[in-house]
Amino acid sequence: MKVKVKLFALLRQFGPDEQTVELPEGTTIDDVVRSLKLPGTIRLLRIVNGEHRPADHVLKDGDDLALFPPIAGGWI
């Protein structure tokens, strides 16, 4: 199956802004995060087709996955 993966903010140093990846059936969001070698130390915000999903969410063919790191700024 094919899934479109979009990276935001600082994650863009780890891959293209947008890419379509070929994945086996049953792949979870966390599997994608690991396969793209994204930093696993901070839990990311994961959005599939515009909705917030947990790490163990199983992806489907044609899904649009967006990954966001937390950003802290505002005050310093």
């Binding site: 839990r43 915000l45 917030h52 937390p70 505002g74 005050w75 310093i76």
Partner: protein, 245 residues
């Protein structure tokens, strides 16, 4: 009651549909707690002050330095070394003498957060770090009041209206704090997100429009892209999960 001067001062915003004199009186009787008088706290507090929020509680333990002045428009070079909450109060009172501004110079910690928030109707998160945001999130939940979350980085920003348990809490969205860092930022960035935080607050307090509850707004300045995403409660959330609702 609004004075004759207040009727004149707020005449243009009372023309907005759903606002009117009734909405303006609600603002006059409202109290907000602004956590942080820096990049986000500057536009947030300025727009809430000139809109006529009756009581503003503003808190910051730090004082401005030269590297703050590209965005922290509550302060100027004559205020370097003055506490940011105190400097903020001076600026806000000059902009609107019909409101009350209280400055708190404390660092927000678990032991004082509820007392600092006091009788506020809403909390404005204008912080730069998640550990303090989590304290504000917990305080908002205990007091059953909303928290308007904003954060920025470079020319990107995020915004949400959090009113747990009706909505997911802040820690449902971002369960872990990113490392503390000195990050790039432009003055126009907190101006975008801070103005939207002020607007969410004014809508909630006046009863006009609908807030961003249950949604996260992501703004990308480089492409002028605004997107809204539906957010969900995390059953394992360290703040509100596992029956803590």
């Amino acid at each position: 009651m609004l004075s004759e001067q207040e009727m004149k001062r707020y005449t243009r915003q009372m023309m907005i549909e759903g606002w009117g004199e009734a909405g303006q009186k609600k603002l006059k009787n409202s109290t907000v707690f602004i956590a942080g008088a820096g990049g986000l706290g500057s536009p947030v507090s300025i727009y809430l002050a000139v809109a006529g929020i009756g009581n503003i509680r503003i808190c910051d333990f730090d004082s401005p330095d030269w590297s703050n002045l590209n965005r922290q428009i509550l302060h100027d070079q004559t205020r370097i070394g003055t506490n940011k909450a105190v400097s903020g109060k001076m600026t806000l009172e000059r902009l609107n003498q019909d409101i009350t501004v209280t400055a708190f110079t404390d660092k927000i910690v678990a032991e004082n957060v509820d007392e600092l928030v006091g009788n506020a109707d809403i909390i404005l998160d204008c912080m730069d770090n998640f550990p303090t945001r989590y304290l504000l999130n917990e305080s908002a939940r205990r007091k059953k009041i909303p928290l308007v979350y904003g954060s920025i980085w470079g020319i990107d920003g995020r915004l949400s209206f959090i009113h747990s348990p009706e909505t997911p809490c802040l820690q449902c969205i971002f369960p872990e704090a990113p490392p503390k860092e000195v990050f790039p930022v432009l003055g126009a960035t907190p101006a975008v997100i801070g103005s939207l935080q002020a607007l969410e607050t004014l809508k909630y307090l006046s009863g006009m429009g609908t807030t961003l509850k249950g949604q996260l707004l992501v703004w990308e300045g480089a492409t002028t892209d605004f997107k809204k995403y539906k957010i969900r409660k995390d059953p394992d959330c360290p703040a509100c999960g596992n029956g803590k609702n």
